[in-house]
Symmetry: C2
Subunit: 583 residues, 2 copies
């Protein structure tokens, strides 16, 4: 071993010991006759000291060390004259007697400090240097710990981790598959799994009644910010359970994480139906750290001569506590916010509940003080509050107001990153209907079971049927979702029919699963968590990219290894493929 201790290990008790340290040069400082080198590794920083009087040659060598040189230093641990309380090793330093340079370093393209001057692209290109920075090290340590705690908890609860294949079969349901051409079977392809869904169901049919896997999943989507073509799930499934059993079990997992990692005891997670979540927050993943619940105003504000309200399917608002004092500029910014194409509202109506009890609104032409007072009753507003109102088609306006609520909540400091508000959103619709084509798509996936008492409406009114489906949401982030599955061949066939599969298509793609239902399938259900997202939640930052060692950029490209890239003609030929030039 090229070291006897790490750079985070030595303390005052080690004074007098001969040690070997190895690591990276964080910086060197020449102070008259002394040279100090901060040596860094994964565990910390230790100061090396060199005296020009004691060993001139060694000291000159030390002075030539540049940032990020990799060295080994041998010497004696001594107590420091001026201690550094910011460092765990700050009581001591090493009087170096021998120094070996393993590797010099060119000047890095950005500074390797907690705050760096490197832009995102540069840092992606030199990811191995970015990974040396403490914030990323901390993130990957957290991820490692979360994975360990996942396995500890689930193993203790009788779950078996079982690996499922990565070379599987392409199915057109859901997002696009990445495919893998077969050399041995010309013209045929494997697909990379979007999730191990069907395999975990087959494991339930195989009797493995508690399965989990921390597993990579792949989706060939047009990338949006903070989406990755490959991402990691905690994938879980249980047999002989009902919905409530799944919720209890995985609420337990999340509580375990909070206890072990944050030292926080979370209370029982409240449940909220999808319908409630949409009506109260305009979102199926409401941030419940703060109130500002939706207040519907149709009864109060329609038929008063204001066309925008009168023509709207829904008039709905939120009350921003203490924001009546916001300036014209701030209010204009809110209007600009809702008019952004990502939000898409036409405009914003506001009404200030002034400190003196009067009202000042942007629609004073249409509503007198009395009428505005009835708004205030609806909103339960107090002097000093600000009412914000949108109007339009129900689904759209709810989504718009959700964005506004989150934005204003942020502005008001109501989204405290150190506070955690979990909940289960339940009773999702089984289907969502394509607005243009009228086709029904599975909201969760085609293996999700309908509520038993709504089975009768599957054919007559599919859009009204709810599913045994649930999402776990914390602070407005959907961490995981799942469902109780169908375990009956006939019901599964019916689902595929409603989803527009012909019997032949259903059989070609999922025949193996429906075949398995013939041989004794237990009732089962499960959940999958976004592992990258859980790490980001616990790490307290937004981008999952900061929790992935080697992420891809928004164009799905790995800038460091320069991938994807062309392959040789010989490889293409072996794969029976030809690249078509763009026409």
């Amino acid at each position: 071993m090229h070291r006897s201790h790490t750079c985070g290990e030595l303390r005052i008790e080690n004074v007098g010991q001969e040690v070997n340290l190895a690591g990276w040069v964080q910086r060197t400082r020449d102070m008259g006759g002394m040279t100090f080198v901060d040596l860094r590794d994964r565990y910390g920083i230790t100061q090396l000291s060199f005296s020009i009087d004691e060993n001139e040659k060694l000291c000159s060598k030390a002075r030539k060390l540049g940032r990020e040189f990799v060295v080994k230093a041998t010497g004696k641990v001594v107590e420091r004259e001026s201690k550094n309380p910011k460092l765990e090793t700050g009581d001591v330093e090493i009087l170096v007697t021998s120094l070996k340079v393993f590797s010099p370093s060119e000047v890095p393209p950005f500074t390797i400090e907690d705050e760096t001057d490197g832009g995102e692209e540069l840092r992606m290109r030199y990811r191995y240097l970015d990974l040396r920075r403490k914030p990323l090290l901390k993130n990957l340590k957290l991820r490692h710990q979360l994975a360990l705690e996942t396995r500890k908890f689930l193993d203790q609860n009788e779950f078996m981790e079982i690996e499922t294949p990565y070379l599987i079969k392409s199915t057109p349901e859901g997002a696009r598959d990445f495919v893998v051409p077969s050399r041995m079977h010309g013209g045929e392809f494997y697909a990379l799994p979007q999730s191990p869904q069907t395999f975990k169901q087959l494991l339930m049919i195989g009797g493995y009644d508690r399965y989990f896997q921390i597993v990579r999943c792949f989706r060939d989507e047009d990338l949006r910010a903070d989406r990755q073509p490959e991402f990691t799930q905690i994938d879980c499934e249980m047999a002989f359970v009902e919905q409530e059993d799944v919720l209890q079990t995985f609420e337990g997992l999340m509580k375990h994480f909070f206890k072990e990692i944050k030292g926080v005891d979370l209370p029982e997670f409240p449940r909220m139906t999808y319908a409630d979540a949409m009506a109260r927050f305009g979102s199926d993943k409401p941030d419940t750290r703060f109130g500002m619940e939706f207040v519907e105003l149709n009864d109060t504000v329609q038929k008063k001569g204001f066309k925008v309200f009168d023509d709207a399917e829904l008039v709905v608002g939120v009350c921003a506590e203490g924001a009546a004092g916001w300036s014209r500029k701030q209010l204009d910014a809110l209007t600009d916010f809702v008019r952004r194409p990502q939000v898409g509202a036409q405009g914003l109506i506001y009404c200030k509940h002034n400190e003196d009890g009067t009202f000042k609104s942007s629609v004073d032409k249409f509503f007198d003080q009395n009428q505005l007072n009835s708004w205030a009753s609806k909103f339960d507003s107090k002097p000093g509050d600000l009412m914000l109102v949108l109007a339009g088609p129900t689904n759209k306006v709810r989504k718009q107001l959700n964005e506004l609520r989150l934005y204003v909540g942020g502005e008001l400091g109501l989204r405290n990153p150190d506070e955690y508000s979990p909940l289960w959103v339940v009773d999702f619709p089984l289907f969502e209907q394509d607005e243009e084509t009228g086709d029904f798509h599975a909201m969760h996936h085609p293996f999700t079971s309908p509520k038993a008492d709504q089975m009768g409406f599957l054919e007559s009114s599919p859009g009204s049927v709810n599913a045994n489906a649930y999402d776990m949401v914390i602070n407005g982030v959907e961490l995981g979702g799942g469902s109780i599955r169908i375990h009956d061949e006939e019901l599964q066939k019916q689902m595929f029919r409603i989803l527009g599969f012909s019997d032949e298509e259903a059989k070609a793609q999922f025949g193996f699963l429906m075949g398995a239902f013939k041989y004794g399938a237990p009732p089962h259900g499960g959940i999958a968590f976004g592992f990258d997202r859980i790490a980001a939640l616990f790490g307290g930052t937004d981008s999952i990219r900061d929790y992935i060692a080697f992420p891809k950029n928004n164009a799905g490209r790995d800038l460091m290894i320069d991938s994807p890239s062309e392959i040789s003609d010989e490889q293409l030929k072996e794969l029976h493929l030809q690249v078509k030039s763009e026409s």
Copy 2:
């Protein structure tokens, strides 16, 4: 929860309790007025009992249950009249008061018992049924436990598990890559990793000085028996280490497995050089559970007029203890064995050391008793032993004799599956030379470092240079291998040159790694274990397929999901690809 207990849980202490069990019907037996049902789940079997006198309707229902029906039974735990000591639950049974059938089952295509009547192909097609069999359940439990113990041990030793990407870049070195066409970057491809080799090296350069990952790897090889296109590795890397540190650490991991899983304390692993292993056993993965070491006979047997020996580069044999009594038929079988094309010898010479001290050989025409006695001295044979001799070109004849030694060792019962003989094979050659082209290939991989004292021969005599490379071998199975890596740009460039890469090719494929060497690379090295193979070793059977939940067959096909398969023209078009029909 559809059950209060599992089918493996109830004991005499539970008598009197009302319970719910759920599981699969293993079998039903009608005994006069009673019907008994063995209900099975992952945890065990519990007997359900139904009395026609007490509840005729329920009893008739039970009589109609077929094998593999999934049911829920409610009833009272009672003590059994005739106990079954073979079952952990054999002291009790359930007097069933209510029975619900979750799913009926068609008659399974093979019997779901420890010993099944299903052929391999049928069992692969219905893998979810095969997985219900206890031997497979046991294997997957073992695999789960091995993964947990791996993580426990490595975490305790400061290793961090870090996920590396699956969508990487194709490189022509080594086996063929599976590739993944990019939709967003037409004509470009990702590749699936053959191993995370370069990424783990970049992690070392990034300062993560102890990394591991249980990770899927992919190789598009022409499949041989017991190879899988996707397989799992325990992939590990350490920085600031020398070879001995790596050996000590991972010998520790293997000892941990043996301690935790078998309750066995393994002694220190002996080390054997590659050269010794080849000379003494004809293999770089010798089965050292038994002796029968190679004895070289050139000095003793050449120039006695027997052309086969005289013309041979090497005459070498093994002594089979106590096998002098083998019949003509048995000896012929040995000759047939070595003549099989997989072994490839021309013939086999034997010499019996008879109980009376005389010798009987297949070459008595050329060697008299005196001369055969000098063979016996070389072999250190005793009366009753059998000497077996092969002759030919050194490398070939060693491989042939290795096969023969293993075969005879097996016949003599010397390969006890309950005995474990581990060793490290070290000092592998850096290169192997293609016999036809004379080209040098990396024996381990192109990132492996040469022995420091042999650096000078890299250009002049590459074939003579040894590497800092090592394999862990137990009972003749190579469980893992690794090396100390190159961490210097110039040496890495030199390696690529010797391997026939142009500077441009090296840069295009591995430029990111050599670029990383410019910014402070620590000395590092690591190892990768075949996880499937470790599971098979601990499980005590040969085929890794029995330790993979959903394996592929020898043609790389998943018979259950029927993959690979054709994809739609639309998918191909989106991927900018065209399938070329065979010409």
